[in-house]
């Protein structure tokens, strides 16, 4: 069960990564990246690194996303 | 006469004294020009005196040694003075002294004199140090100390042509010094030492040792104007101020030759050389240098360019002499270093005087110079005849010894080559003399009308022929109308310029076939020393 879930997580992570790569809309990419970070946080929790999971959730999904959104909103939204 | 090793501070003093004076010259130049000139003069005179002071020890057959081991590890700086070193150091410092006197007048109205004198003195330090160096590394160091400041002398005029020539000089110098550097490292690697105090540091023939030798030949050959590394020389010598040219041609070329001597006879050793047979390559290069230098000189109409190419040809003799690997040849070789130093300095100084007084550089316009500048032209003639090798002048002696050496080495072809090249020397020197004495001012000598392109394209033999034709066609000028006119036409260079010229020309005459020829004696001793027991 654990294994299946982990495998699912990894697959999701990879597909999120690919989706970020494919998305031309930057805001969309940022949002997908945020969910990627959350998935990563879950994965770390599962791999036995709660510290890292907390930090990743706060930083990856929180601060980084905010920074990215801020930057996108101050520049332009689409990749030309 | 087994020599002792004597530890003495003198060699270091000789080498470093001018270097110390450089700063003095510079600071003196900031306050007064006169003081600066005096300091410069003092520096070269002092160097000469210090060099001469080594004579007693050297004449006793001793070797003077100074070393600073803690300096620049792992190699250290050391000086080592044997007969050869002493002889060449004395030669260079005394020529330098004379040229300094000459400069005082020649450079009077030039710009940047402080810079000129500073580097002039620094270059002296470099060249004297090169001759006195006790190991290859010190030699390298002083070689650089001579080459790099000399750049400033080359580009002194700061004209575009000078800058171009300077750049060429600089790149060649650096290329040479890098080759030297490589040779140095390789020598250290192969022999574990770079000291010049023995014969045969590298004793085994290997690709690396050949490679090392090629690096050395490239480095010193470049400085000595060996074909095909001569390309800088023909540009740099003409553009430099005449005293600088005199030193470049007279002394600095010799440092290259000296370096090669040391490499061949000390680093490798003559026995080694005989065994490996690399000398044939050197001989070939020397032959090409002689022929090409002389041939191109014929086609040159600028006096200084002609002299520069002549230097290339003459350096060919020196290269030849050291590659023949026989005692006679070596004696002639070393003597030719001396002889060529004084005659080529003399010629360049004359050329400088002529250019300074008349503004003419083209030898086709030299008509009437014999009347206007009799002393200068007389000295020029003496030096030119020496160059051709007319007996009893000292050029003859060196060529004689060299030819004998060629026979001794079993290579008579090179003796023939020497004779041919003497003829070529005649072809390019005599017309100058003839034009100067037997043509009126303003006449363009007829013989010069055509051969320029001609000789260049057709080749050596045509050049010779054209030269003879030129000589033949020169008509004697009508006798001067009267003494008063003669006197009024005299516009001789000032004494400060004339004295060095005359002294050098006298040197050509004095150290000739006279019974007590001290330089020849020194050369013989040196050759013995180099060849070892």
């Amino acid at each position: 069960m654990h294994l299946v879930f982990s495998a699912l997580l990894v697959v999701l992570l990879v597909s999120c990564g690919l989706a970020v790569e494919r998305t031309r809309d930057l805001l969309g990419a940022v949002v997908i990246f945020a969910s990627y970070s959350l998935l990563m946080a879950i994965n770390w929790q599962m791999l036995g690194a709660p510290d890292v999971a907390i930090t990743e959730a706060a930083v990856g999904a929180g601060v980084t996303t905010l920074l990215l959104i801020g930057a996108v909103s101050r520049t332009r939204r689409r990749e030309e | 006469m087994p020599g002792r090793i004597v530890y003495s501070w003198l060699p270091a003093a000789v080498a470093l004294f001018p270097m110390a004076c450089t700063g003095l010259v510079y600071f003196a130049g900031r306050s007064s020009a006169r003081l600066r000139n005096m300091v410069a003069l003092f520096a070269s005179a002092g160097t000469t005196v210090l060099a001469a002071a080594m004579y007693p020890a050297v004449s006793a057959g001793n070797t003077l040694v100074t070393s600073f081991g803690g300096f620049l590890p792992p190699l250290g700086i050391s000086f080592r003075v044997d007969t050869l070193s002493f002889f060449l150091a004395l030669l260079s410092s005394s020529v330098w002294f004379l040229v300094t006197i000459y400069s005082l007048e020649y450079m009077k109205d030039e710009h940047g004199q402080t810079r000129y004198y500073s580097f002039f003195v620094l270059t002296l330090s470099g060249s004297v140090g090169t001759f006195l160096a006790g190991d290859l590394f010190t030699l390298f160091l002083f070689f650089e100390f001579m080459s790099l400041p000399a750049y400033v002398l080359v580009v002194h005029e700061e004209t575009p042509a000078a800058m171009r020539a300077g750049l060429k000089y600089l790149f060649m110098t650096i290329a040479g010094s890098l080759a030297f550097f490589f040779g140095l490292v390789a020598t250290f690697e192969l022999g574990g030492t770079v000291s010049l105090d023995r014969i045969g540091v590298i004793t085994q023939s290997s690709p690396l040792s050949l490679f090392t030798f090629i690096a050395f030949v490239a480095a010193f050959g470049m400085k000595a104007g060996m074909v095909p590394l001569h390309v800088w020389l023909s540009d740099a010598h003409p553009v430099a101020p005449s005293p600088a040219s005199a030193l470049l041609s007279g002394i600095m070329l010799k440092t290259g030759a000296y370096g090669l001597l040391r490499v061949i006879y000390n680093i490798y050793g003559v026995g080694f050389f005989r065994a490996v047979g690399w000398a044939s390559g050197m001989l070939f290069a020397a032959a090409v240098t002689i022929i090409l230098g002389s041939a191109v000189a014929i086609t040159q109409m600028d006096i200084k360019r002609r002299l520069a190419y002549s230097s290339i040809g003459q350096m060919g003799y020196i290269l030849l002499g050291m590659s023949l690997l026989s005692e006679r040849a070596l004696t002639g070789d070393i003597f030719h270093i001396f002889a060529h130093a004084i005659m080529k300095s003399c010629l360049f100084l004359c050329a400088g005087a002529i250019i300074k007084k008349t503004g003419k550089r083209d030898i086709r316009e030299f008509g009437g110079l014999g009347q206007r500048m009799p002393v200068t032209m007389a000295c020029f003639t003496v030096a030119a005849l020496t160059m051709i090798g007319i007996p009893p002048l000292n050029g003859f002696i060196s060529k004689w010894e060299l030819s004998l050496g060629a026979f001794e080495a079993g290579k008579p072809f090179y003796a023939v080559l020497l004779i041919v090249s003497s003829l070529m020397n005649a072809v390019y020197y005599l017309p100058i003399v003839i034009t100067a004495f037997f043509t009126r001012a303003g006449d363009r000598a007829a013989g010069y009308a055509a051969p320029d392109a001609h000789a260049r394209h057709v080749g050596v033999s045509t050049g010779i022929v054209a030269g003879f034709v030129a000589g033949d066609q020169t008509e004697p000028s009508p006798a001067p109308a009267g003494l008063s006119r003669l006197l009024s036409s005299v516009a001789e260079a000032p004494p400060a310029m004339l004295v060095p010229i005359v002294v050098l020309a006298l040197g050509c005459v004095v150290f000739s076939l006279s019974p007590a020829n001290w330089p020849l004696h020194m050369s013989e001793l040196s050759a013995k020393l180099l060849l070892g027991p």
Partner: protein
């Protein structure tokens, strides 16, 4: 066994993500996209670090003296935590730069930026 497999799975995922991140970073002209790519790459490295630890059975290989049996070795966590800190500061800095570039040049496209800085 299952843990081994899990470790390898994550290992594999990390490798793929690293590639994805690097690819995003190198092929996309947009600076912000590059930054996101960099973040993906960084997290992939962190994932790799954790999964490497996992391959060896979840127990840290060091038996530090004086530590209790259940004591979790802080080392890999500390490693990644520091890595995250560094990643976020790099990201913030890069974004600030990107914004400034946009203010100055009006574009976020790398080629365009190079063109404009060269010409200007």
């Amino acid at each position: 066994m299952s843990q081994q497999l899990l470790g390898h799975l994550n290992f594999l995922g990390a490798m793929v993500l690293f590639a994805v991140g690097l690819y995003t970073m190198l092929t996309h002209g947009n600076l912000i996209k590059k930054i996101i790519g960099m973040n993906i790459m960084d997290t992939a490295v962190f994932l790799f670090v954790v999964s490497l630890g996992y391959v060896r059975g979840g127990r840290p290989p060091i038996g530090a003296a004086g530590t209790a049996a259940g004591f979790v070795n802080p080392l890999p966590s500390a490693l990644i935590l520091t890595g995250i800190v560094i990643a976020v500061s790099t990201t913030a800095f890069a974004l600030a730069l990107a914004i400034k570039i946009h203010e100055n040049l009006g574009t976020l496209d790398a080629d365009e930026i190079v063109r404009r800085t060269r010409s200007g």
